[in-house]
Amino acid sequence: MNHAISDALVITKRQLLQLSRVPEVLIFSTIQPVMFVLLFRYVFGGSIDSGQPGGYVQLLMPGIFVQTVAFTLVATAAGLAEDMKKGLIDRFRSLPISRGAVVIGRTLGDALLNILVLAIMAITGYVVGWRPTSGMFQITLAFLFLFMFGYALSWIGIFVGLSIKDARTVQNVGFIVTFPLTFLSNAFAPTTGMPRVLQYFAEWNPVSSMVAACRQLFGLENEFGATANSWPSQNPLATSLIYMLLLMIIFIPLSIRKYKNTSA
């Protein structure tokens, strides 16, 4: 058990080393969210009447935070698929290490990367006028939620990466799934303008709960689109927690089992 943890940390360290050896990875994983912040802030910010004191950017930032951590799924899956293709996973599997170590290490590494990306985005947001009005405790809690959400999705990423096994396909499939998932939500625009069916979807979409939870924790009154009296929109914090726990309860054992049984 002792080894299981230290083995996982060696794998995590490997990912951090990769970042220092190939800083491009970090640059590109931050450029996209920063670009989104700037584009949405200045392209839509002026025309969307949010009725929000402080402007659209207050609503936008939680949406972009959630969207960014949601892409962890793709990053984890693609990274793992790449390792499998290169034969690195075979090498790891021929070593006397605990079976879960490689995937636990990877999810941890991706989670740590998320902290860095979130920090850079928060700074960018601050520069363009984002000012959370709640207290330090709530703000910290919001980032903790974001971190956990990314971590939970990372475990789905493990499963996807092990199933698809090809980094490029993983990336394409990942974007096809995560883009609609993040846009069919309250992240960027109110769900009230959507057709009825999509409204239901958006209402129950974990992304919406997460965005609403973050908005609440950042001190916003208007939760932007949580219109219906559905349970998730009424209780975004609880809903988000349930979703995260559910994902982890399902995907951690499932992914570890899949890893044990997979031969690339």
Binding site: V10, R14, L17, Q18, K86, G87, D90, S94, L95, A264
Partner: protein
């Protein structure tokens, strides 16, 4: 004592459609090198993957250093080293990073991992490249690093899956001398290869496999005798074929075989026979387009053992499907 022993291994992919191993049995004596020789798709990689605990056979059994690979894979992993066809190291990291990481994963502890990494880099002539990312390494350097990674804990058994495939002649030579050194150190090696010459250089004993089963087993000399040693080959203009065939038959003592304009026959005295043939050709005023001695190739081994040439099965097409069948 048999350090590696596989008995009646069967492995099929895609619900039995592709039979990768068909009742394969082999063993390796302690401290010796077994060369597993066969074309792509013969089952070499599958055999190695089963013995290295990466894959479970459908049936059959195997032990490595006396440990059952199916019942106690985790114990087997402590005594083996695996170096694959593809250099399986983290390419974005440096050579040093990689070796230290693997040391840590073998639970050597920080300082010991660092010491061992330095030691191995030195030994494999990679000290200068130690702090460069693997992406800047040549093919030969990558293989050496990969091999170094498999030697971190001084394994009892080393599996080398086509260690020189894709290397240039220089890289191949380097790799051979590195492997020979290891063998002198007493480690038991199972090495797969597509090249008869490689098996000849490195292995004490050779198992030829075809379509998932061992079709011949013996020393390199024994196999070569079976195949028939060197061949004299002369290519001439069409009008000279008949006369050349006569000369070659005389020199060889066997009836010469004609394939388009190339006349060939087995010879026992190598260059002496070649010279004799040349002299005879010169007297007959025949100018050969090409002349040479050919050492038996894998194709020759296969042809004489199976009566068919080595059939290349596209293993690449099989590999991605492996995950389906556990």
């Amino acid at each position: 004592m048999k350090t590696v022993e596989a008995k009646h291994l069967v492995k099929t992919y895609r619900n039995g459609e592709v039979k990768a191993l068909n009742d394969l049995s082999l063993d390796v004596e302690e401290g010796t090198v077994l060369g597993v020789l066969g074309p792509n798709g013969a089952g070499k990689t599958t055999t190695v993957r089963i013995l290295a605990t990466l894959l479970k056979p459908d049936s059959g059994s195997a032990t490595v250093a006396g440990i059952d690979v199916i019942k106690h894979p985790e114990k087997v992993r402590e005594v083996i080293g695996l170096s694959g066809q593809y250099a399986a190291v983290d390419e974005t990291l440096t050579g040093w990073d990689n070796l230290v990481m693997f040391g840590r994963l073998y639970h050597l502890g920080r300082q010991k991992s660092v010491d061992r990494a330095n030691e191995l880099l030195e030994r494999f002539d990679l000290t200068e490249a130690a702090k460069r990312p693997i992406t800047t390494y040549s093919g030969g350097m990558r293989r050496r690093l990969d091999l170094a990674a498999s030697l971190i804990v001084r394994p009892k058994v080393l599996f080398l899956d086509e260690p020189t495939t894709g290397l240039d002649p220089r890289g191949r030579q380097d790799m051979w001398s590195v492997i020979q050194e290891l063998v002198t150190g007493g480690v038991t090696v199972l090495l797969t290869t597509q090249y008869l010459e490689e098996a000849d250089q490195l292995a004490d004993d050779i198992a030829v496999i075809d379509r998932g089963t061992v079709i011949a087993r013996g020393t390199s000399d024994a196999l070569k005798t079976q195949v028939g040693g060197e061949k004299l080959e002369i290519t001439v203009e069409n009008i000279d074929i008949a006369k050349t065939q006569e000369i070659v038959t005389r020199v060889s003592g066997h009836s010469a075989y004609v394939n388009t304009r190339t006349v060939s026959a087995p010879v026992v005295n190598g260059s002496r026979d070649l010279m004799e043939a040349l002299r005879a050709l010169d007297e007959a005023k025949i100018h050969p387009l090409d002349i040479g001695l050919r050492r038996p190739s894998l194709d020759d081994v296969f042809l004489s053992l199976t009566g068919h040439v080595a059939e290349e099965v596209n293993e690449e097409a099989v590999i991605p499907k492996k995950g389906r069948k556990k």
